[in-house]
């Protein structure tokens, strides 16, 4: 059994619970609800034990609880080796630890677990608020650690103050480590949970998907350009291509989605690049989307690791984008490229696919146009003219029935991008023109302060591409035919009153708030650029900027200098502080005397009384007897009698003795003795 001093007092317990709470709080939204309850119950039980109303659970009960929690975990998560179940397991382990929180060692284990749980928060989200929260959590856990040492340090101000001071003092070294510590790549592959909430453009386009996106002002992409910036009407950030239509939902289909056999060129150079140089060079920072789709202008190429190009001119990532991801892109607009070879039959078949029946009215209408002998472009312009004449752009379209294309084209005639793009592609396919729906983002807000283009979720857009013989894939945006301002100025001006109407805080209505939001985004961008995306490449750049040249000598100096400086500082500090209280003058003077005597050959023994010492001196070196006697006498009077004059006399005596080299004196007297 732990000894008495090892048992946890009340303050320590409360601190441990506080630390656990802080670590657990942001995870609660992700973890199954019962874990939160289990934790609260364990805390309650432990407090009851502290009050003496209950006992700590016995072995059988503990085993039962463990079995229950394991079963609970298995029920909540289908697999084990992913982040979420791991976090859950950690949270549960300190929850269970609460039931046997007895000694300081238990407390310590519990707090170490809390550190780990707090850290897993960052794996999910690396934004500034989370970083700040993580910092606070670390502060509290460290304070809890400090509070384990007695009741004085358990006082909130003292514990937090200590913790804050430690962290502040540790910060310089942390920054140094952050900059110089080498980053290795992932050591093994860690699967992550993909089932959790997904944002952004998705794998499929069903009616209503884009209305959801139009309500979110979350940033999706941040794009900074190296060189010219595309004009607003060219800012089509392609992410997905839908080729398969089942009458209601558009999907990528076989041969498009890389997961379903779509070809991806992972290595640069695998796919020949156009002869002429790229028109745009830019870096895209994409927010976590939990899907592998990346966004770029048409005919992109990227050298960033883990990024591949698809045959239909998009970029994909090898693994889903779980946290912000930055990639470099070069883009060649289609009009700058050579005449493409004709579409192969598989491609043609895929892009002409339609459900066997349904939407008869549209099919008949297109058939009529075809019978009049119109070509692909004429049919397209007929359709766009129809949109322009009759249709309304609205974010709140009426619900559509089973023949959604028919109802949209001939009855409701109200809708937004997905309706326009979907019906357009349907009609074009019905007319025998290969066509496909493209989804991604359109537009973006230019942030002048930091020189980047901010694309938000509500910029999500869908448009169409048709194949024209001899010209290749051409982008057609049916929405532009109805509402040109959607393409030119973005959703906000196109939707007018409807824009973000349901949001709790109509931020966009207040100029100040809009500006503030933009400022905040700029800070975020900075944060991302400097901290979150700091990788080995940036590390090399930074070191190069700091040192000029990465010769081993310089790196070693860079490392060694602070270490040496700090060590020297500590040494100096220990020398200065270690001396302790200044000893009284009498003692110091007497020490001088003792040292002098030691040089003369008589060392004072530890604990030897001055009188005894003087007697010994008189025995061994009679010639010093008088001097020693006088000094001892003066010392005793000064030290114990509080005699000021004696101190003066002692000083005088010693000055006299210091003035004369003692050894000569002794030698002389020894000669005299012979």
């Amino acid at each position: 059994m732990a000894n008495n001093r090892d048992l946890l007092p009340r303050e320590s317990l409360l601190w441990i619970f506080a630390a656990q709470f802080v670590a657990l709080l942001p995870q609660l939204s992700q973890l199954p609800l019962w874990i939160g309850f289990a934790w609260a119950f364990a805390v309650y039980w432990r407090l009851e034990v502290f009050r003496g109303r209950r006992d700590l659970p016995g072995r059988a009960l503990k085993l039962l609880v463990i079995a229950l929690t394991v079963a609970g975990l298995a029920q909540s998560y289908q697999r084990w080796f992913a982040l979420e179940p791991m976090v859950a397991l950690l949270a549960l382990s300190f929850t269970l630890k609460n039931l046997e929180l007895v000694s300081r060692r238990d407390a310590f284990v519990s707090l170490l677990l809390a550190y780990f749980v707090a850290a897993t928060l960052f794996v999910r989200e690396q934004s500034i608020p989370y970083a700040l929260y993580g910092l606070i959590a670390t502060l509290v856990i460290t304070a809890a650690l400090a509070a384990q040492l007695g009741s004085f340090s358990a006082r909130p101000r003292r514990a937090l103050g200590l913790s804050l001071r430690l962290m502040a003092q540790a910060t310089p070294l942390m920054l140094l480590l952050f900059v110089v510590m080498p980053r290795l790549g992932p050591l093994w592959n860690v699967p992550q949970d993909t089932s959790a909430g997904r944002t952004g453009v998705s794998d499929s386009m069903a009616p209503g998907d884009f209305t959801r996106l139009s309500k979110s002002a979350k940033p999706a992409l941040r794009i900074s350009f190296d060189g010219p910036i595309p004009p607003p009407e060219q800012r089509y950030w392609r992410g997905l291509v839908y080729s398969e239509f089942d009458g209601r939902t558009w999907r990528q289909g076989l041969g498009v989605d890389p997961r379903n056999g779509g070809q991806v060129y992972w290595n640069s150079g695998e796919r020949p690049l156009p002869q002429i140089g790229p028109r745009y060079r830019y870096q895209v920072i994409q927010e976590a989307s939990r899907s592998p789709w990346l966004f770029a202008l048409a005919r992109p190429a990227s050298d960033s690791p883990g990024v591949g190009e698809t045959a239909d001119d998009r970029l994909v990532k090898r693994s889903p984008v779980y946290s912000r991801f930055a990639y470099e892109v070069r883009s060649w607009p289609r009009d700058s490229q050579a005449i493409p070879s004709p579409l192969n039959s598989a491609e043609r078949r895929r892009n002409l696919q339609l459900p066997a029946n349904g939407n008869q009215r549209t099919r008949e209408w297109v058939e009529r146009l075809r019978r009049r002998g119109l070509g692909a472009e004429e049919i397209s312009s007929q359709l766009l003219a129809l949109y322009n004449r009759e249709f309304t752009y609205t974010l709140r379209p009426p619900a559509l029935g089973s023949d959604s294309v028919d109802e949209f084209l001939f009855d409701s005639q109200k809708g937004f991008c997905e309706h326009f793009a979907g019906s357009y592609v349907f009609a074009m396919r019905a007319a025998g023109v290969p066509a496909r729906v493209v989804a991604g983002y359109q537009g973006g807000e230019w942030v002048n302060g930091e020189k980047y283009l901010l694309v938000r979720e509500y910029d999500a857009h869908a448009w169409a591409e048709i194949w024209l013989d001899g010209r290749g894939w051409q982008r057609v945006d049916p929405t532009a035919a109805v509402s040109p301002e959607r393409v030119r100025d973005g959703l906000e001006s196109a939707a007018g009153e409807e824009f973000m109407q349901d949001s709790l805080l109509p931020v966009h209505r207040f100029d100040v708030l809009v500006k503030l939001r933009l400022q905040w985004d700029m800070i975020n961008y900075r944060w991302y650029q400097t901290v979150v995306s700091f990788d080995s490449e940036k590390q090399r750049d930074t070191l190069q900027r700091l040192l000029g040249d990465l010769s081993p000598m310089r790196v070693a100096l860079f490392f060694a200098t602070p270490v040496v400086v700090v060590l020297f500082g500590i040494l100096l500090w220990t020398r200065l502080t270690g001396r302790g209280r200044k000893r009284p003058a009498v003692e110091r003077l007497y020490t001088v005397f003792c040292k002098r005597m030691a040089r003369a050959g008589i060392t004072r023994r530890p604990g030897e009384a001055p009188r005894d010492f003087a007697r010994r001196i008189a025995e061994q070196k009679p010639q010093l007897a008088e001097f020693a006697g006088q000094v001892t006498d003066a010392f005793e009077r000064a030290a114990y009698g509080g005699d000021k004059g004696a101190l003066m006399e002692l000083r005088r005596l010693l000055r006299w003795c210091l003035g004369l080299p003692l050894r000569v004196r002794t030698n002389k007297s020894q000669q005299a003795g012979h």
């Binding site: 707090a118 670390t138 040492l149 992932p186 979150v532 220990t574 302790g580």
Partner: protein
Amino acid sequence: MNRDFPRQASSTGSTDSKSSRNFFRGLGERWLSRRAPRSRDITLNHSRLFILPTRAGLGYLLVTALLWLLATNYENNLVFALTFLLISVFVILPVHTFANLSGLRLQLLGTEAAFAGDFAEAQINLSRTDKRQREWIQICWPPEEGAYVDLCEVASADFRIALPALQRGRIQAPRLRIESRFPLGLFRCWSRIDLDVEFLVYPRPLTAGPLPLGEALVEGTSGQVRRGGDDYASLKPYQPGDSLRHLAWKQYAAGRDLYSKEYESRTDTRLWLDWELLDGRDVETRLSNLCDWVLQAEKQGVAYGLRIPGTTLPPSLGTEHQQRVLSALALFPKWGG
């Protein structure tokens, strides 16, 4: 007083490994005694303090290693930052732990005598020489738990620490350990100091029956004598009223003055705790028995004297007398007799 009494029973290692370990221990002790000499007033400084991570500290390092793995695998810079922060805290901690002890002044206020088998206590004053608050300082003779002291709101504190006293005699206490794990418990800073603590340990009291009242063997001239016994003791000038039966006729016949013979009793009203009363037992048992009698006599208020080889203390009562008697018992030579 002789300081060269054997301290504790010296362990004579039989095996080689033990003797070599003792050799190194001896080497360490000698090194310590040079580096941190004996004194009744010690101020802790860098030359006396040692510092190493605790087991908890190693656990903490393990967690930072795991965090580093997490950060590396997820290529997560914030986890990296947290890892480096924790490592940096670990790096600066020794300085704090050291500062918690450095500059502390320890003074031996005094010691109290104890009986063998009991705990001997030393009173020590711990004070800080600067304004820094000190916490959670443990001072002990391992493996005893010793005392925990905080110097947070006060600048100086007196406390007692106990050492089990095993053998009688003048015991030089081993080095004290002063230790602190403040602030996070990840490092242990300690010093082994010799405060020149010396205990006087009385023999362990062992019951030897009731007080030997009336059994004192009378020898010599000290003490009050009960007259009228059988044993001839001495001559004294005749005084009127002396019994005629006791007149020393022989001496008178030889032409000297009239003397009267004095007889003394075998028993004495005053209590002599005598070595010889316990004949046949070994030295330590005799001392222990005497010790027990001393305590009994003092409790019962019977004046007692002590007579052991080399020392005779006349009967008396009172704390001071008791201390003198017990000291005499404590300091009785070990191998003498």
